[in-house]
Amino acid sequence: MRFSTSMRVGPVGFRIGSDWRAPIAGLKRLYRDYPKPADDIPHFTVRLEATHWWRRFVRPSVRIAGDHTLPEALPLPLAQGVLAAEMAMNLQMALGQRHFLLVHAASVERDGKVMILTGESGSGKSTLAALLGEHGWRLLGDEFALIDPQTGEAHPFPRPISLKNASIDVMAALAPPERFGERINGTPKGDIRHLIPNAAALAGMDKSAPPALILFPRFGNAADVREVLPSEVFIRLTQASTNYVSLAERGYTALTQLVTQTPARAIDFPDTATGLKLVQDLWAELA
């Protein structure tokens, strides 16, 4: 490919090639403090390709390719090239990762124990994790929690946090401008701006820890806490996992162990201050 870069995020090395310079420049900025893949050999390769050779120049359109792809993925405009790369990297993990049980969740660590925040897009898990990461917690990641089937521990995957819409301004008040990527407007999920995890999160990207609490946050309602039974946690986490089925028995064993050993709560919160307080109170009580 004409332009390329590589990086390691937690245990996973990526190589990204592109027909254009701009997405690689954006990625190099976001990943400037990340290490290179171990032995310089990446686990996954991602390519950002023009849909036709002339679409490199005319209404440039980015098609996602790589080791693992979905045939129905739609191309994105070049202005969203960094987002395309992020989506492609997620896709490699979602489809190709076999060493960890992947749960679509944010995770943070405190006192050597991990809290997993899972929920659908828009539930506020990324925002809560980003906030906690600036309030004395170590951010493990906002996209995937990696559960080691052998030890049950959660491994960090501290990708740049993808902040959406209103949460961009919330975090802009807390973190310096050099930790932000370019604002990407008009994506399918609204406006997106990436926040580079802080130095503690990046320095700790090889430190795993056992899960101690699973939360199902939901933004937008009056404050409330509800206990979630292991049976419901199990079903919701199978839905939140991208590789539960392909891990077969190892996935079932890992998930059963996680669910039976970790308390879980669902929380509603009307604003970020209330959300933070609820989370910290629950942590003090249960973890």
Binding site: R15, D39, P42, H43, T45, D67, Q97, S246, L247
Partner: protein, 92 residues
């Protein structure tokens, strides 16, 4: 780019020790694209490889194993359905 190298590794796994760190990413990517990563993992098993290469091949092998179990399960189910059909031809 290095499809030839991939072919050589599949036929003569011992050559893996001569593959340079710069060549491995292409070999692995081509193997994935050609759906030969699982075959490569089996052919290279037992050799000393860079840890990252081993990790990618371990994943490919796990993937192939799962695929095998799923395929055998399909066959088992088809077998049971056909047995039922031959015992009770009116059953469809």
């Amino acid at each position: 780019m290095s499809a030839r190298l991939l072919c050589q590794l599949l036929t003569e796994p011992g050559r893996a020790r001569d593959v340079t760190p710069a060549q491995w990413p292409s070999v692995l990517t081509i193997a994935q694209a050609e759906r030969l990563a699982g075959s490569l993992a089996y052919r290279l098993s037992g050799l000393t490889l860079p840890p990252s290469v081993q990790s990618v091949l371990d994943a490919a092998r796990l993937n192939a194993d799962t695929g095998r179990v799923q395929a055998l399960w399909e066959v088992e189910m088809a077998g049971r359905a056909l047995a039922l059909h031959s015992a009770f031809p009116s059953c469809s």
